[in-house]
Amino acid sequence: MIEFHLDARSGVSPYQQIVRQVRSGLRLGLLREGDQLPTVKEVVGLLAINPNTVLKAYKELEHAGLVAPRPGIGTFVTATLGDGAFAAHGPLRQDLMRWLAKARRAGLDDESIDALFQDAFRSSSERGIA
């Protein structure tokens, strides 16, 4: 079971934050087909937010075909996102951690690392399209 958290300063609405956390859970393999999402009551009890916010997020995930409600029981994951190549995630993560350590040793702060990554990411996607 995943647990949601809210970042008040992100500028992203609470309902969008819940949607994103489920989607990223699916991408990272933290959530798999058949897993149950926290019930509306559980989320409300944890985050002290309006239940309609949670319902709205779950509705959107349902429309995207990622989850489905089972009446009286809860909401369950019905699909996976991404390629399902979770096996490759571990080694890739390790490579990335090594690279991050190297960037910090070279004196880059978080913002520079993020900017560098985004820039490299963009140019590699552009090359992919060309």
């Binding site: 809210l6 500028g11 609470p14 509306v40 009551k41 409300v44 009890g45 944890l46 985050l47 002290a48 937010i49 309006n50 239940p51 309609n52 916010t53």
Partner: protein
């Protein structure tokens, strides 16, 4: 569907002072409504009219389709937690529950006992010795255990520390899951942002704006442009706030359709920005604010 609260031209005067002026609202059920405004704006007056502690000087109000406090059945439909969550200091927690059961036909004593246990209150403790957070939880329990369709709360979290505030709002939101409509007031927008889905802004005895929060956020934007005379606004835009320096115009506008206009830089607003714009407008009594002097370089 019957609105939770519906008012038309609702006015309340205390002698010559007008506490609430020509208020017309229709609030749907199933919402958590935030009533926000500065101290003295008329929030408590409006809530007291809704629960029948006050009667209107003019205009009408109906709550869940009935006149406030018109019958014992209506009293049972509406739960009320007054400002500073008052309890009887000399009575124990258990006495409060017994009293609640005695005066409320629809009293759910297992719900009341479960809640008291859940929030860790000792039934034998005298209410006068409870902390602010515990007292608020006791008052909320009394209001919930009568199984109302609508809960009305006047500044319920104003005096609470951040942890007690969170625990209170968690408990309140859990009752919303059960289908209870809620109206709560606060002078702090931050308290309302996560829990409310409907907002009523009350300033200087008048309702300035009311509506679904999501819709309010999508209809209000801040526009910034270099100042020039005769600047034209697209039709359908309503200026809420207008600030000008010698070189810049900054407007908060409400619009009925999305706008793309290269003359203006368009920024998103958060709920606090929207509320503040209406407060600024109300405090300048509809007149334009004095022109601010720009920073000279």
């Amino acid at each position: 569907m019957t609105p939770a609260v519906e008012t038309s031209g609702l006015t309340k005067r205390y002698g010559r002072r007008v506490a609430l002026n020509d208020c017309s609202l229709s609030i749907p059920t199933g919402r958590v409504v935030g009533l926000v405004g500065p101290n003295g704006a008329g929030k408590t007056t409006l809530l007291h009219l809704a629960v029948g502690l006050l009667t209107p000087s003019a205009g009408t109000i109906s709550v869940l389709g009935h006149a406030p406090a018109e019958s014992p059945a209506q009293l049972g439909r509406v739960g009320f937690v007054a400002q500073d969550t008052p309890v009887y200091a000399g009575m124990s927690v258990a006495d409060h529950l017994r009293f609640g059961e005695w005066v409320n036909p629809g009293w759910d004593s297992s719900l009341a006992n479960d809640r008291i246990a859940q929030v860790g209150l000792d039934p034998a403790q005298r209410a006068g010795t409870l902390s602010g957070g515990q007292r608020a939880q006791l008052a909320l329990t009394l209001a919930i255990a009568k199984r109302p369709q609508l809960l009305v709360l006047d500044e319920p979290v104003a005096g609470l520390d951040p942890l007690a505030r969170r625990e209170f709002l968690q408990a309140l939101m859990a009752t919303v899951v059960e289908g209870v409509s809620v109206v709560l007031s606060s002078h702090l927008v931050a308290d309302l942002e996560r829990v409310c889905d409907y907002l009523v802004v009350l300033v200087a005895s008048r309702v300035q704006v009311a509506g679904e929060i999501e819709q309010l956020l999508s209809e209000h934007h801040r526009l910034v442009a270099a100042r020039r005379d005769g600047l034209q606004l697209p039709s359908g835009w309503k200026v809420i706030e207008n600030r000008e320096t010698d070189r810049q115009s900054t407007l908060v506008v409400r619009h009925d359709r999305p706008v793309v206009d290269p003359a203006w830089t368009i920024e998103e607003l958060d709920l606090e920005d929207v509320v503040l714009a209406y407060m600024a407008r109300a405090s300048s009594n509809g007149a334009h604010r004095p022109t601010l002097v720009g920073v000279q370089r």
